[in-house]
Every structure is written in C-alpha cells, then in structure tokens.
C-alpha cells in the first residue's frame, strides 16, 4: 500500500532546476532511502515533502491527502514528521522538556493551559528517553548533549509521536561509526508503525537499514527499487564511480 506518492515534482531556484519531474512511490511500513551525489536534489525533495518549501509543479499525496501546498504544521498534524539536517532541538530547554514539547503538540490550547497531560505523559517520555539512551540526561539542557545525543534527541522527538511517515535528513551526520550503528538499531523497531524516508551519505549504513532506494542525479530519478536492484544497477554504478 502506497503511503506517499510523489508525482512529477519540480522545483526551480533561479535558473537552477533542483528537481525535475520526480516520481516516487513509498510503500507503507518500509524504509526508503534517497541517495545521490551532492547537489542531486535529495534535501530539496525532502524539504518539499516536509513543507519547508513548496514544489513549483506536480503533486505530493500523503495517506490519500494532497499536501503539495499545505504548511508544515498541517503536515505534522496528520502524521508526517521531519528531522532537519542541522540538528533542530531547543537547546535552552531540558532534554525531558524537548520530548514533552513534541508529544504534547496534539493537545488543545485549553488543555495546555490547564497542563492536563503533563503527569500522564511522564511514563511515555521516560520510556522513550530510555529507548534512546538519554534517561541519565533527562534533566540536562539539550544544548549540553554531544552531537550524536542531540541527533538521537531529535529523532526521539519524532518517534514518540508515532508518525505515519518520518523524513530523516542525514540522521547520522557527524556521528562516530559506533553512534551510526546504534542509530540504525534504534530506528529498526519503529517499522511496525512508521514509514521512513531517509536521506543519507553513508551508503553502507543506508543499504543495511533500507528496503528500497531511489537514486537521484541532477534533480531527476536515476533509478529506483530494492537495495539489491540498485546495487546491481549499471546506471548507478556509473554515477558513483565517475562523480562521487
């Protein structure tokens, strides 16, 4: 079952065609990787999916709803979450409060004023902190965490919301090999409830974690399919051996 249908998406910045007629279908409860050389349009596509900017042409359908020109807060409210390439946590709030902020976002303003869900969310937050190895840091400021821990915090802020679709832009950027391996392990259990679209430079890591891959080059889809198919693709080999 397709959860995300990208049809003929285009985006132009001045004279540069960053995305040129992209078509991708993402199946529910799969991990789908977007790879490609620098400047191929991966992050631009992810931002168009998240609502950071709008596509100039084409349509994006998520869970049966046309979201092409919907703002990010709407997309988030229907279960589409985005993790930025540059870690976007709230550094002056505690780790615990960062997660509380994320998980309470479905509450009404009146519920927030009355602080109705604060106590009842405690268990869920602690469970997530434990899952992402951040329990000891619960009361620390998020800005005091290491880079890798900040990345985990941001991922955990999305995961706790149990989104239908999670977009991760270079989730292992700046991490040590050990942290990368741990990140992969942390993501695997969410497959039951969440579909993942990941942009990543580390090809070995993304091949290990993803079911399907789409390769972008110069704003177009070069090839798409299972990891095995992409590994054997001559077109992909050519791009990666000549230009990466």
């Amino acid at each position: 079952m397709t959860i995300l249908a990208i049809e003929n998406i285009g985006k132009q910045f001045g004279s540069l065609k960053a995305l040129d007629g992209i078509d991708i279908n993402v199946e529910k409860n799969t991990f789908h990787g977007l790879i490609g050389p620098n400047g191929s349009g991966k992050s631009t596509l992810l931002k168009a999916l998240a609502g950071d900017h709008f596509a100039d042409q084409g349509t994006i359908t998520f869970d049966g709803i046309d979201i092409t020109h919907q703002p990010p807060e709407y997309r988030a409210s229907i279960g589409l979450n985005f993790k930025f390439q540059i870690t976007a946590i709230f550094p002056e709030l505690s780790v615990y409060d960062n997660i509380l902020l994320s998980v309470q976002s479905t509450a009404s303003i009146w519920e927030l004023i009355r602080s109705r869900s604060r106590a009842s969310l405690n268990d869920k937050i602690l469970e997530t902190l434990e899952q992402f190895q951040l329990l000891d840091k619960a009361e620390s400021l998020a800005g005091e965490l290491s880079h890798g821990q900040q990345q985990w915090l941001e991922i955990s802020m999305s995961v706790i919301r149990k989104p239908k679709l999670l977009l991760l832009d270079e989730p292992t950027g700046g991490m040590s090999p050990e942290e990368r391996r741990a990140t992969g392990e942390l993501l695997l259990p969410i497959r039951k409830e969440t579909t993942l679209v990941i942009v990543e430079h580390d090809l070995e890591w993304i091949k290990d974690i993803c079911d399907n891959l789409t390769v972008l080059d110069q704003g177009k889809v070069l090839d798409s399919g299972t990891v095995d198919k992409i590994e054997k693709s001559n077109k992909v080999k050519e791009v990666y051996t000549t230009r990466v």
Partner: protein
Amino acid sequence: MKDKKANFKRLPLLEAIILGFLVVAPLFLSDFYTVILTRMLILCLLAISFELCWGYSGIMTFGQGLFFGMAGYAVALLANKVGFVQIWGVIPIGIFVGTIVSFLLAWLLLLGKKAPEIIFVALGTLTFSYAAERLVSGWYYVGGGNGLSIFEFLSFGSYEIEPGVLFYYIAGIALLVSYLLSRYLVRSQLGLVLAAMRQDEKRLLFLGYRVRGFKALVFTFAGAVAGLGGALYAHHEGFIGPNNMGIGISTMAVLYTLFGGVGSLIGPLIGVFALETISFTLSGVDAFKSFWPVILGAILLVVVTFKPDGLTGFIVSRRERIGTFGRIDKKEKNGRKETKD
C-alpha cells in the same frame, strides 16, 4: 553553559521579598510616597504586558501603550460624559477594552497567512500607537492635546477611593492577580510552547504547533493586562492624555523590561521600581534638574549594553528564568535506571 546559580531557587525568593516589601510599604511610607508607589504598581502592569509579548513569546511590540491608553480614555470618557466611576465597572471595562483592541491588532498583524517577521509586528504596533496618539491629540471630544481629566474619585457605591493607602492595595491586588495568572500561564504546558517559540519558531511549526494562534493568544492576554493598568492609571492620576497612549509610554514599557531583565515576570517589576525611582530622585536634585533624562539614558545604555539580562540577571540565572516544565517522576526514573543496571 552550566551555571552554579541554577541550583538555587532564587526566583521565588526574590518574588517573596518584593511581595513582602510591597505588602508592608504603606505602613512606613508617607501618603505622598504611597501615591508614587501606587503609580509604579500600575506601571508594573504595563511592563508585565510587554514582557509577556517579548520575553515569553518573541513578539516585539510597541503597542502596549495603545492598549493602556485606550482603556484609560474609555474609563475617563465614561467618568466625564456619563459620570460612571464605580470600581466594579471600571476594572472590567479597562480589561475589556485592552482585550478587544489587542485582539484586533493581533488579527491584523499576527494572524495573516504567513508568519510575520519581528520587524513587521514592531513597526505595525508602532504605527498604530503613533496614529492613535495623533488622533486623540487632534480630537476635541476626547480633550485634544490637553487630554481628559477625571474630576470624580473612583468609587465603590457611595464610598470614594482616593489615591492613598486603599488605592495602593487595590492596585497591588490587581498586580498580584495579573502576576499570578501570568505566572501560571508561563509555567504551564502552554508556557513550554512559548519558551520553545522564543528559541526556534520554525522548528515548532514542524512539530505541528500553530504558532500564530499562540502568539495572538498571548498578545491578547497581554493587552487585557495593559488595559487593566490603563483604567487604574486614569483614575489614580485623575487624568489621561495623548502621552499616555503613544510611542513614549510604549517605549517606556520596553525600557522597564530591558532594564529589569527579560525572561522573568519579576524583571519588569524591578525595572519599573528602579527606573521610576532613579527618574524621581534625579528630577528632584537641583544640580541635575535640566539634564536628568540624559543621565537616565546613560544608565540605561550601560545596563542594556553590559548586562543584557538586566538587573535580574545579577541574581537569577538564565536557566532558572527559563525553568523546567515537565515534572519528572523521580521514582519512576530511578526504577528504570535500576532495572537497566
């Protein structure tokens, strides 16, 4: 980033000291100084209203004077034209006018299709304040440049509430209630959203929050607080004029907050007491009479330049001012840690 001061609960202590002082102050102050202090309490409402917008929600506004002045004019007109000076009506009317005017401004400036830039809101509120000041200056019905005087005292039934100890405690209770309500709001789960909004508004959108709605809500609540202040001010001073609703008083609200310290509700109060005391003292010294505003300006510049956290920053750490919002169940947390070990 670690701060030793963060370990101490200095903020509640500071609040308790100031509250204690304000409760007993009329017992040892003369009537003259009680009246001066009452004026400061009323101006604290104006300062809190700015702090809620800027310090807690990241809305740079020069409109607080507008809400303050409009409420003041409304109750002054009622007193002059209809003879209505009953406190049970004056206070709700002040709050109502502040709420309606600030909501209209929020609707115009904050609730557009796209999230407004800080500068757009700052200039927008500045323009409205300036326009309103010019309008009342030239409008004979509301006293033109001379403003409106109120010749009757605020009353409860037939009992007249003259400026003095009773008015002081009424203003004090109005401030205490506004302070506690604001404190409840900024420490609630909604306060967590506001704290995040100050740090990264865009990120908050991606978490699904309708940021503009939150801003409009706080802006309107702050307008109500300023309106309450304006109604009390007009009756306490027996006068309201164009200077009480324009850019001048709006800028004073900004200065009180910057001087006292952004990021806490007690900071603006300290700013009001400090700036008003310095102004009052300097203006009374013969040697400084002709140029005391210059000295005041220099003091302001020094504090804002070298201590951006304001006077409160000397006592309360930034960490404590931001605070924590989740109440971590320590037993549960420790239980999880032991299980893990």
